[in-house]
């Protein structure tokens, strides 16, 4: 069972979810390149200029660990990364669990993603404004202070640490992506987990994904926000278990 975190923070996003599956599944957690504890040196602008670059990494992990029949749990943009990986190598995957998926964030003719291009510009602005704050708080983490654990309390926002340039690029690639056409390429059974009030992937988008992913199931979670894995972990776990065991 492989858990892939979305745009923003790192694999800690799954901390309340994966333990519930640890007794039945082999658990694979990772950070996307450029985020969390990943090797920033492995970042290649060309490779990660499309979500396919991230999907290749998912497949590479599968190959490296010799994984088959993978239950891929992807949050946010990683839901689509899982879709791309499963379209490319269907034989690797047993099921896709898509938490708050969106194949396109920006509105288009006849499609409502929920955001305008200006919103995405605004996001990049927010990230730029937060860059200075980050570098100051990240510094002690980078220096490492194992002999002074009390400093740990002083560090904030460490679960969302990222190289600012990479995070910005990831934001652009994520929020300007359009993977609507890729949904039809997937044959893997899929569960779409949709929050009743998701500010990023609205219900209509979840329904769109469900309609275009053949044989998929849509489950509504009674949760607000884009991260039910954090705000409603029990519901999230229960829905996944029901789907996998049912």
């Amino acid at each position: 069972m492989m858990f892939a975190h979305g745009f923003g923070c790192d694999q800690n996003m799954w901390r309340y979810v994966w333990p519930a599956f640890a007794d039945t599944y082999r658990i694979v957690l990772f950070d996307h390149v450029g985020l969390g504890g990943s090797d920033v040196g492995a970042y290649d602008r060309r490779k990660y200029d499309r979500l396919d670059g991230y999907a290749e990494d998912v497949l590479e992990i599968c190959h490296e660990l010799g994984l088959d029949d993978v239950v891929f749990v992807g949050h946010s943009v990683s839901a689509m990364i899982g879709v791309l990986a499963a379209a490319k190598e269907p034989e690797r995957f047993g099921a896709l669990i898509l938490v708050g998926p969106s194949p396109r964030y920006v509105d288009d003719e006849g499609y409502r993603g929920g955001f305008s291009r200006e919103d995405i510009e605004g996001l990049l602005d927010s990230m730029d404004s937060n860059y200075l704050g980050w570098s100051a708080t990240i510094a002690p983490v980078i220096m490492g202070t194992p002999d002074r654990p009390e400093l740990g309390d002083e560090l904030t926002n460490t679960f969302c640490r990222a190289d600012p340039d990479i995070a910005r690029h990831f934001a652009e690639v994520t929020f300007l992506s359009d993977n609507r056409a890729d949904l039809a390429r997937v044959r893997t059974p899929a569960l779409v987990l949709q929050c009743a009030n998701d500010a990023i992937a609205p219900v209509s988008v979840g329904e769109y994904v469900h309609r275009h992913l053949r044989g998929s199931e849509l489950v509504m979670l009674d949760a607000v926000g884009h991260c039910p894995n954090l705000s409603a972990p029990e519901q999230t776990v229960a829905a996944i278990k029901r789907y996998l065991e049912g």
Binding site: G6, F7, G8, C9, N12, M13, R15, A42, Y43, D44, R45, R46, K47, D49, S76, F115, S116, E118, D119, I120, E121, G122, L123, L124, D125, S126, M127, D128, S129, N130, Y131, L132, G133, T137, T156, N157, T158, F159, C160, D165, R168, F175, N197, A199, I200, V224, G225, H226, C227, L230, S231
Partner: protein, 382 residues
């Protein structure tokens, strides 16, 4: 006239302020929401700063709805997860949309409060007006961007200028810098007349990035031109460049290839200081790299040790290609593989005029977005 107040009277004033007053008129905006972000309470400072009235907010609006679209994404992808994971968030820059639609730049802190059974119940948030701070940060960011832009422009301006042209040969160059948001590198090419029928070809790469690398590049480029005008042979010119770098403490470990081409004799003399090897496409032969005439990069402490130089006679119709590592290096691929691809490209574009093949090969081997500068110079002898 100032009036001294005794510490005792200050204490008295403070104690008279009720907790309610301290909350309502705090020098920061203060609000509380439930776990879903629905506003439960806001203070008067928040009302004053934003123009909202509490009756329009309490129980009706979510905090994230008071942010712009971009801020909303940032809130959902960074702020909310962090708060859930670490129980508090500090100093996040967000913009609050006021009732009149204008934006209040703010620094926002939140803590998650738990009930007696340990369940998280309420989010308490303080908001500080960060208008001036944000302006200053924007100035800093703009200054950084300006420096990038100046470096790119400087580098580009030094690379423009007429290239030699004339009977019996065709010359083409390609230069693209790394992504705008990345700092300019220090790659350069040059081509100029040494005498009526002798042309000099140069390609170099400076370690480092940014304004300093661009300025260094300008100096080294001028130094090569000046030294070339004295008629130095390629290896001797590289040795002279070692001295230049050492004396002026500039450009150490730069890689450089310097070639002199006699157009009538079709004789190419060259010396290569640690630079990627020049590629040669001769008629009726497979494209290949030329591995002789090589020595170490500039000013790496080898003193005046003699450098290698090579001379090749080129058949008519030959093409010579000089380039920087941006054309052939790519993360996670071996240099051997990438150089093999360059040979394939040279074979595929054999016979085409360099004005077409050079940009085509650059586009095929190093498509955008680029991590590094890409610099290519190609010359065909007719």
């Amino acid at each position: 006239m100032s009036v001294e107040r005794s510490p005792a009277s200050v204490t008295t004033d403070l104690s008279e302020a009720t907790a309610e007053e301290l909350f309502e008129d705090a020098p920061c905006a203060y609000l509380a929401t439930d776990l879903d972000g629905l506003l439960i309470r806001v203070n008067r400072t928040f009302e004053n700063w934003t123009g909202y009235r509490r009756e329009d907010l309490i129980g009706k609006r979510r905090f994230s709805e008071l942010l712009g679209g971009g801020g909303r994404i940032y809130h959902e992808t960074h702020y909310a997860p962090l708060l859930m994971m670490q129980g508090s968030v500090r100093e996040i820059a967000l913009e609050i949309r006021r009732a009149d639609g204008s934006l209040l730049p703010a620094l926002v802190n939140s803590v998650l409060r738990h009930d007696s059974s340990g369940q998280p119940r309420v989010i308490r948030t303080t908001i500080f007006d960060a208008t001036d701070r944000r302006r200053y940060e924007r100035e800093l960011l703009a200054a950084r961007e300006r420096e990038h832009e100046i470096a790119h422009r400087l580098q580009r301006s030094m690379l423009t200028g007429a290239l030699p042209s004339g009977e019996g040969f065709e010359l083409a160059v390609y230069y693209e810098s790394a992504e705008e948001m990345l700092e300019a590198g220090g790659d350069w090419y040059d081509a100029f007349w040494l005498s009526e029928r002798t042309v000099a070809l140069v390609c170099g790469d400076i370690v480092g990035r940014g304004l300093e690398a661009a300025a260094t590049m300008g100096q080294l480029r001028s130094a090569v031109r000046a030294l070339a005008s004295t008629g130095l042979e390629p290896a001797a010119l590289l040795n002279a460049m070692d001295g230049y770098c050492r004396r002026h403490r500039i450009g150490a470990t730069t890689t450089l290839i310097y070639a002199v081409l006699d157009l009538d004799e079709r004789r190419l003399s060259f010396a290569c200081a640690g630079h990627p090897p020049l590629a040669l496409v001769a008629p009726d032969r497979d494209p290949r790299f030329v591995w002789d005439g090589r020595s170490w990069p500039l000013d790496v402490g080898f003193g005046e040790r003699e450098r290698a130089q090579a001379t090749w006679s080129l058949p008519a119709g030959s093409t010579v290609l000089l380039y920087t590592d941006g054309l052939v290096e790519r993360r996670r691929e071996t240099l051997e593989d990438r150089m093999g691809l360059l040979l394939e490209q040279l074979a595929a574009h054999r016979g085409e005029p360099v004005s077409r093949s050079v940009p085509a090969m650059a586009a095929a081997l190093a498509p955008p977005p680029r991590d590094d500068d890409v610099c290519v110079l190609g010359l065909t002898l007719r």
